[in-house]
Amino acid sequence: MRPAAFGYLAPTKLNDVLALLDGVSESVILAGGQSIVPLLNQRKMRPALVVDINQVEELGGMTVTEQSVQFGALTRHRTLELNSSVASHLPVLAEAAGLIGDPSIRRRGTLGGSLAHAQPGAELPVAVVLLDGRLEIASTRGVRTVRAREFYQEPFGSILERDEVILAVRIDRSSERRGYAVREFSSHRHGHNIVGAAAIRLDSGGFCTHATVVIGCAGRPTLVEGAVPSVIGARNLDDCDLQAIGELAAGEHASAVTPVRSEDRPLVAMVVIAALQAAWQRSTQIMGIRS
């Protein structure tokens, strides 16, 4: 399996990348290549031009301020997984990145690439939606900021235009003192992952004041709104009907673009319940609550 012929350029300046994407209609961005090169190898993609962005300095780096953590689009999954700043501020990103492929894939694959590729069941889109991240996106028309929760449309589809490139991802630090977790079921038979992610905030008395659940399966990363109310105000997660919450999550995802197959629904329920339990446990630890 070898790619069809294509032209190749590796600009070092962002403006040159944008000009190429604008000027060459059959151009594609090459970042980590862990999703795109298999498609080139199988000739599922036959671009006229591959624009390698790995040498664009403006796309690297990680910045921590009091308000936010900002990652350049070229941040490698392995960096998210192992970096101590990520571990202390956004451990859920480290957890999500650590679920991707294996270390060799993670040394090359990038945050921007994963978000842009929008693969159903991908971990980082789910985590960034959970964290309510903001994507900074550039083209020759300028720069725009899009909320991750408004970015995804359909499997492999987002509002990213063909000639746009993700510059950076910014995560607000105001929700840092919550328990977060990502859980995943992965089977080659399914061909994609089933991912559940949860964020829980407990008050000092151990009562839940905030809960967010996101799932990734066959469609786009989906914020599960209906499951949340039954968890708010609870003192113990076991007091909630977890099975019903799980089934609701599987059902809600079914209404988001691509339905969840009936055989996948128990697995969606399972990862949601597992993520809620882990997030609750971590919030308990963060708040120093004795159960």
Binding site: A5, V37, P38, Q42, V50, G101, D102, P103, R107, R108
Partner: protein
């Protein structure tokens, strides 16, 4: 389109002209005759194509040859020492019976050495997770993980840089 590239291959400089569509794994095997690296699935799943790029294990089937320009690349051929004595990890794999057809072995050696640079004292479970991207059809993996555990234990009793020759 033809692009001139230069890189360091197993500590020897190489220069050649490649087409952008030539994968690094194919450049190594077909243009440079370095056939210890195997290109199998072409999708990054099996790990047989693993090489070290600037010391880090990556898939050579998911890198274009042109992307190797300016890099230091080490393949399995560059793991044994200059005189051809096997690396202690290779000895351990032989001792535990972890090599049958040998097709996955190059990728496993390089994945393991790279991982141990990052995490020098892993648990058995961590070793298994680190090798989750290397498929073996023959051995059932147990002997492979045994060998890496044995190598890690040996490395700690006689500390040395992981990639140095014994």
């Amino acid at each position: 389109m033809s692009i001139d590239i230069t890189f360091d291959l197993n500590e020897e400089p190489v220069s050649l002209a490649v087409e952008p569509r030539e994968l690094l794994g194919h450049v190594l095997r077909e243009r440079l005759g370095v056939r210890g690296t195997h290109v199998a699935c072409g999708q990054g799943i099996c790990g047989a194509c693993t090489v070290l790029i600037n010391g880090e294990a990556m898939r050579s089937c998911l890198l274009l040859g042109v992307q190797a320009n300016g890099c230091q690349i080490r393949t399995i051929s560059g793991v044994a020492d200059v005189a051809g004595s096997p690396h202690p990890l290779q000895e351990a794999l032989k001792d535990t019976g972890a090599v049958q057809c040998g097709y996955c072995t190059a990728g496993i050696v390089l994945s393991a050495l790279s991982y141990l640079e990052e995490c020098p004292a892993p648990s058995r479970t961590e070793i298994e997770h680190a090798l989750s991207g290397n498929i073996c059809r023959c051995t059932g993996y147990t002997a492979i993980v045994d060998a890496i555990e044995r190598y890690v234990a040996q490395s700690w009793s006689a500390p040395q840089h992981i990639l140095e020759t014994p």
